[in-house]
Symmetry: C2
Subunit: 204 residues, 2 copies
DNA sequence: ACCTGAACACCGTTCAAGT
DNA sequence: ACCTGAACACCGTTCAAGT
């Protein structure tokens, strides 16, 4: 069946199939996508440069879906909105995190959202020298908490006896509930820290 | 050459070879390790359960090397020491980060260091309900900044024109220097936030 | 332009065979 | 106990051939 008159594939169909696999937690790869689409792996290369581009396609798709609504407001609302948007994205597509983490960002939507963050922080009074650091910190926190969310429950389940950790783990919430608590706590910490810093700048 | 009277392999030799590969940034895997050791891939399975165990072996080895020295001091010294120790570890073995990030922690040394952190925070007056959150936040920041360090220079080099980001990237430091700056800034932010929180607790 | 099928150079893992 | 070699079931990617 070579060259059907109406094409079987497109970057969109490929991205759809890829997202399906990832959301099911199924093994992700060029071959798996081809199988799901009832097509030969080599067919995909007519539409896509390879595995990395498919991952980047997914990042872009999620970026468009989750990131644009962070527009107005005060600087701390923008920071909070940006972090919550990413959090929702990671929470609803946890298996994507390990994939996108090991790849450089090229998607313009994602870049644009970081640019917006940088512009807002600069306008709020953060010195230009520090803005990039703050963006990196926000990004690190977001990614780190994303991985925390994606990791299995047993991350904090030690096999050897512990002084404190084991007890706290046993008493506290588990899984997504635990990670969500930590995210909220961290968000508050981050915003408090940034407000304090801004206040100090304004003393000078 | 079956069954040499003095064994060619051991978990230690395997871990050594694995670390060498990772530190060179060479492709990491069972086959590559075997090649480096002048041995058949299947030989490794006499000493090790598989790829995952080799990664865990490396994590343990680095844990023993970098983490133990965080013992005494005030709670914020312990937090700072713990973060700096991990930072040094990631900085000196950046290619390890993507590997360990996608795997659950089972190594007792690493668990012990988190336990120590939890014990210290609880003793300092952080409510037990919040200690686990704080540990997760510290971990997220550490991992996130580790990935930031490991990622190529071009992460923040947008292809499309930007309002602020592109200019800041052009002016500021690059590579490890940029990441180190952000780490220092984030560490300060984290400690300030935690001190503020502790002070609030003590008001009640 | 778009798909197939064969081919290539890889993976990680298992297992019988050898000493 | 410890290594080999063959085998298995995978990867991602390239490319000539077909319409």
């Amino acid at each position: 069946m070579p060259r059907p008159r109406t094409p079987l594939l497109s970057t969109d169909r490929i991205a759809d199939a890829a997202m399906e696999l990832v959301d099911e937690g199924a093994p992700f790869g060029v071959n798996a996508i081809a199988r799901r689409l009832g097509v030969t792996p080599s067919s995909l290369y007519n539409h896509v440069r390879g595995r990395d581009e498919i991952v980047e396609l997914m990042r872009g798709r999620l970026g468009e879906r989750y990131l644009p609504q962070l527009v107005g407001g005060t600087w701390d609302e923008v920071v909070e909105g940006s972090l919550r948007a990413q959090r929702r994205m990671y929470a609803e597509h946890p298996f994507l995190i390990p994939l996108i983490v090991e790849q450089t960002i090229t998607d313009p939507t994602v870049i644009a959202s970081y640019d917006h963050l940088a512009t807002t922080l600069a306008a709020a009074g953060f010195p230009e020298d520090d803005v990039l650091d703050v963006v990196a910190i926000i990004d690190a926190f977001s990614i780190g908490m994303g991985l925390d969310l994606a990791s299995p429950d047993e991350v904090w389940a030690p096999e050897t006896p512990t002084e404190t950790l084991g007890r706290l783990v046993a008493v506290g919430p588990r899984g997504a509930a635990r990670s969500d608590r930590a995210f909220e706590s961290g968000l508050e910490l981050l915003l408090d820290g940034l407000r304090l810093r801004l206040a100090r700048y304004e003393l000078d």
